[in-house]
Symmetry: C2
Subunit: 252 residues, 2 copies
């Protein structure tokens, strides 16, 4: 193992009974987004009832979303970062009330493949969801965002033209989830992480990174809440096409 | 259309805010059951927090479960029906708080294929879940139950030896759900119905029926709550095998 990970178990379970504990909330299944349904008109005020941490996008696929400590950030296709009000609308967001069960440390520059291996070793089973938050300094981070789109253009086509951003020696946070392969119609399978720099000037959907000195928090999520949209687009769509290949291309 | 269905819209939404409204709850994903994980030790006291209507099975695959108006019935492999206490354990149950949005009527003897066509016409989109309850008189009902099993014997093998029951001129209730195809790892895709006779002496997993005079209630379910088991069996299982073929055979 390249990484010098110290396991510092520090359970901090969510004590507030009014919040769903260790639950991943999806406001729509990701297969709808993959098909090009970019308008579901779900306000972030609704999303925030279900979490303070997560990722997603905006109506018209207008950039990448990352939510940290209850604040919603938008990374648009020109690379700028905006904070977003609760009245803004989304077709896809995935959130939880973040309460990590464990913290691990990486203390030296680590190649992306080794970082992925390190993360995967922290997940005891491939059959649960996990929230993952990585805070610290990165030698490099490569992200993409997505340009605002009309509906019905499949995500895989949009992603072919994605603007890519490369940051060097940057402090910031990766936020996201691990999803079991058999839940791929609901959420992006495997690791799915978005980045926001500490100065809140850069970010996006993670393509690659080289962490140097970071703290990795992991939360086990054994409950799933999935809302199905009631829009005409969603209700009348033919989802029989297998979108796994599209999703794999669109997320990489 | 063979059936003379009168649409009698009679919305009766769940007004009790403490109950999750129009939510399908699954205590584990059905792919675990298909693989032969027949012990998850989830008590029905937990299941009843999430619904008063539904279907499922029992630990060790000990028969078919149907829940009507909050009472849990077990149809064992010898065809007998028992009511079941809340301390009994289950590896798989699927429930909701039943509050139908519409009622439709069938008033003449109807072939099974026509009955399925009638039900499918009542579901406006293939991309939602629905709870379905059919009360009335049937010219015939054919069901199966499953014999108590050790763990790890795939459901498709068990189903090859299933005892089959045929009832004639029977009054009773079908209870179950429609699941979108893209959620097949979580719940049995398409229509999945269990039967209980009005005298509570017979029942099982529906294979075929010929309704004569029945009332069909439909509830739209646009929210999904899925719990993932924390058992060693579940956490360590390799779910990469495609179980769709098995599930199709096991349910028919």
């Amino acid at each position: 193992m390249v990484c010098s990970g110290r396991n510092v178990i520090g359970a901090s379970m969510n004590k507030n009974c009014s919040k769903p504990e260790n639950t991943i909330y999806l406001c729509s299944p990701v297969n709808a987004l993959v098909e090009g349904i970019y308008e579901e008109n779900i306000p972030f005020s609704e999303i925030k009832k279900h979490g303070d941490f997560g990722l997603g996008t905006f109506n018209d696929l207008d950039g990448e979303m990352v939510m940290l400590d209850g604040t919603i950030y938008q990374i648009t296709a020109d690379g700028t970062v905006n904070t977003v009000s609760e009245s803004v609308l989304t077709p896809f967001a995935c959130v939880t009330f973040y309460a990590p069960l464990s913290h691990d440390i990486i203390e030296k520059e680590t190649a992306y493949e080794d970082f992925l291996g390190f993360l995967n070793k922290l997940l005891p089973s491939p059959n649960l969801f996990y929230a993952i938050r990585v805070d610290g300094v990165f030698a490099s981070v490569k992200t993409r965002s997505v340009p605002r789109q009309d509906n019905y253009r499949p995500l895989v086509e949009v992603a072919r033209e994605q603007p890519v951003f490369t940051m060097q020696d940057v402090e910031g946070t990766l936020a996201g989830f691990y999803t079991p392969a058999f839940m791929a119609s609901a959420s992006v399978p495997g690791l799915h992480l978005h980045f926001l720099s500490a100065d809140m000037q850069q970010g996006g959907h993670l393509l690659e990174c080289r962490p140097c000195s970071v703290k990795v928090g992991i939360q086990f999520l054994s409950k799933v809440e999935l809302s199905l949209p009631m829009s005409l687009d969603y209700l009348t769509w033919d989802f029989n096409r297998d979108v796994a290949g599209d999703l794999d291309k669109a997320e990489k």
